[in-house]
Symmetry: C2
Subunit: 506 residues, 2 copies
């Protein structure tokens, strides 16, 4: 009997390992082998079995210092351990690390952003995360301005971490000028920074997916943008029963303001104030509006219009001749053709907090009302002139990575994303590491992902790692097989095992 007390111990006390080990073990009793303690080159030495049972096996000590006949040698390292205070292991407040499991989720989400953008024929662009501060310091009283991560660089320039992507996009469009033919359909997935109070689903940095259409004046553009967001939702499993879009137009407010002869220079500021209506008491909003120069009568009228929830009612209030009504009607009509009528509803209270919107505005919301807006956007036909360039009709949206993940979690829709490997390759002796490297190289050249075991490790450890990393196959490089020009392969799901020549691996 080839079984040693050590391997018996395994079979009894390590059920998980057992299931992998069993077929190998069983074939051990039937098949040959020159040494009674080896099969397929696997040597069951006491030392190995012992170290695999020891918890220390996974946290080996570094090789430097005293080893290799060099005891007393100078050990490198700028600081002697023990004198050093442990650093703060957390990232700065409001920011995130992305360990592998979080990174897989982020990649999954971003790949969906990118795939939807591709389906809609949009081209990807990006801008520096650090911009000149002047790009963001609009004077309309937006919250965003007070939340800038801004500083002076070593060249005494005022710079800021971007709080949003649209100003950079506009800057690049102006820079490109007539060299780029309109319309532009551009998308970005980029990190944005706001120094703000942290709440659920909101940190001080988040990634934002933006899609923008530059050069199209009609609402087909907005209809297309909303369609792309709906496509994204559908792809990630979110239904119209989970999420809706509230849609309005800033032209609604504009028409009211026009009746009361409010100067157009106030428009952005008024919108920014009105947008606070769900965050601060109505009386505060009224006060701010009046302080900005809006008459009490106009304030009353504005607030009344904001409560309107149907286009018919809005038409009664504003008359049917205006652009607000005709834009909105056209958008709702196009939504039918795009196939997302059930996702959208008119809601005059949607204004959005950025000063630069001029027409249709929209935001995606969870129907349970638990979360902040998932995304938002609209038309910004006058942004370019605020940068001193000619205006170009434009619209776009921002879609953050934080709230949608909260929603997916709420709905149990987070995907199961685990590491998937094709192969784990392991040398059965330290002096077979070179051959194992050759095996890994051959497989990688054929496009297979390979976790090459870089140390001499007990088989138990290897199987455990293979299971954790969802490796499909294990290749064991043993000396007798290597001499015959073959390696042992094991399909880990079935336990099936076979020998294969190096040049036939695939």
């Amino acid at each position: 009997m080839p079984a040693t007390p050590f391997s018996c111990l395994y079979l009894i006390h390590q059920p998980r390992f057992n299931s992998y080990f069993n077929p190998l073990f069983r074939s051990l009793t039937y098949q040959l082998s020159t040494s009674p303690l080896s099969f397929n080159g696997i040597k069951f030495t006491a030392a190995r079995v012992h170290s695999s049972l020891s918890p220390a096996a996974e946290t080996e000590s570094p090789s430097g210092g005293g080893g290799g006949g060099r005891s007393g040698g100078l050990s490198p390292g700028p600081v002697v351990a023990g004198e050093v205070q442990r650093i703060d292991v957390n990232p700065p407040k409001g920011t995130r690390d992305f360990p592998p499991e979080e990174m897989r989720l982020r990649n999954w989400l971003f790949n969906n952003f990118k795939e939807v953008s591709r389906l809609y024929g949009f081209e990807e662009v990006d801008f520096p995360v650090l911009e000149n501060e002047a790009l963001f310091t609009r004077k309309a009283g937006e919250e965003i301005k007070d939340q800038l991560y801004c500083f002076e660089d070593r060249g005494n320039r005022r710079v800021a971490l971007r709080p949003e992507l649209t100003p950079s996009l506009a800057r690049l469009v102006i820079q490109k000028g007539k060299s780029v033919p309109l319309p532009l359909k551009w998308f970005t997935v980029g990190q944005c920074w706001r120094y703000e109070r942290m709440t659920r689903g909101r940190r001080r940095e988040h990634y934002q997916w933006n899609m923008d259409i530059i050069g199209v004046p009609g609402v087909m553009a907005e209809a297309e943008l909303i369609s792309s967001i709906v496509t994204l939702f559908k792809r990630i499993g979110i239904k119209e029963s989970d999420v809706g879009f509230k849609i309005s137009s800033r032209k609604v407010l504009q028409e009211v303001l026009k009746c009361y002869s409010i100067p157009e220079s106030l428009f952005g500021k008024v919108c920014v104030i009105i947008d606070k209506i769900e965050k601060i008491p109505v009386d505060e909003v009224k006060k701010e509006l009046m302080a900005a120069g809006v008459s009490q009568e106009a304030v009353q009228q504005l607030l009344q219009v904001l409560s309107v929830k149907s286009l018919t009612e809005l038409e009664e209030k504003l008359g049917s001749g205006g652009e607000a009504i005709s834009d909105l009607k056209q958008l709702f009509s196009l939504a039918e053709k795009f196939g997302y009528s059930e996702w959208i509803q008119f809601d005059a209270s949607v204004v959005r907090g950025l000063a630069y919107y001029t027409g249709i505005v929209f935001e995606g919301f969870d129907r349970e009302g638990k979360l902040r807006a998932i995304c938002g956007g609209g038309r910004y036909d006058r942004l370019f002139s605020t940068f001193g360039a000619d205006d170009i009709p434009a619209c776009g949206f921002g879609f953050g990575d934080a709230v949608v993940v909260e929603l997916l979690r709420e709905k149990g829709l987070l995907p199961d994303l685990s590491l998937q490997l094709d192969y784990i390759v392991c040398a059965l002796d330290e002096d077979l590491q070179g051959p194992a490297a050759m095996v890994a190289r051959v497989l990688r050249e054929k496009g297979q992902s390979v976790d090459l075991v870089l140390e001499s490790k007990p088989l138990k450890w290897v199987f455990k790692r293979a299971a954790r990393n969802n490796a499909q196959r294990l290749v064991l490089v043993g000396s007798s097989e290597w001499q015959r020009g073959v390696v042992g392969v094991k399909i880990l799901a079935t336990g099936e095992q076979y020998e294969v020549k190096l040049d036939e691996l695939m």
Copy 2:
């Protein structure tokens, strides 16, 4: 004859358009049509043809303001154009925009980074671009410390844009502690910032691909890392005649310093000084070393060892018993099995500029000697203790996105990456935009990328856009076809055209 003077003009004066247009035009003379001026729903109206010839067609004015019976209406926009100074349209000095063509190149490069990492079984991670400053302020006199983009945030925390990725990685490893089984094989592609003098291939921000192996003490780890870089080079068309790796070990210096009883706390600092040897005069380096407490004799010895270019010669100098020699020999032996012997050479002058390296160090260089190091890395077994944690053997490399692109450009290896679209879809009448949206929706649901024309545009314009965006097929939605439940499809490369039912589009 259905041809109008306008379309004749096309055929004569617009050869590029002509080649697309001709088949459509010819079939016009054979096939039916209720109106003599329409085929497949295309109406050749004078207004259309005229606008397609006008350069204004691509830069339409915004729809807001005076149009739609609303002349004199309040035009939105916070600032009146004309009063506003044009913003600086360039990104901050030393930073980059990524317009579509640059973004395609970046994505191509990053996808290669990611694919190689996948082949090697590495998992992707990321960390905040903004970190606590303390993470980077080592006291070894590194250049990197003086180049920090650092500032105080609104909560009075000292923060910095990361100049490199390794400290964040170490922080995350310490944070995860025993919850992650070793070895970790992690990679990152992230942006890093250094405020420095700008030279060719170096800006103030760049992206860096890092691969790190945490928990493996032996040089199999370094061998695997170099192998992954070689795989990357091969994938992007760079050969061993273009690029090589200089390889050494910090243990070489360590062994020299040991002979002269230099305290180990000086080791990092000494390495940082020595690394400047190709940037500042040798006498300066000597002075700095002596100021740091290294004797003149030791300095002489160090500089002599640095000039060694072969392992045999090194062995003569240091003797064969040390770790430096045995590590290097093993690495060169493994390189044969990994298949990259021709890429690497021993060169004692390679030290690298970061204080934390302790063992093997390497850098990739262009053999023509025109560019800065393309990539570099090494073993850093003592970094964790400088953060107050237990040391873990570790090694890794950084590979920037800037120098390699310079090299690809030098060698004429930049890939030809243009936008590729499956379809361009266009309504032939304004009131067919809804149906065109339906067509786009059906195609996108089948995974096709579709550039939906969002405005009423002349055919010439549509063909030009299709050509620019490399669209494979053009779908024209015309009213008579739509009534029959079909649309016209044209394969743009061949001119072949056919009709297809909406539900049979694919």
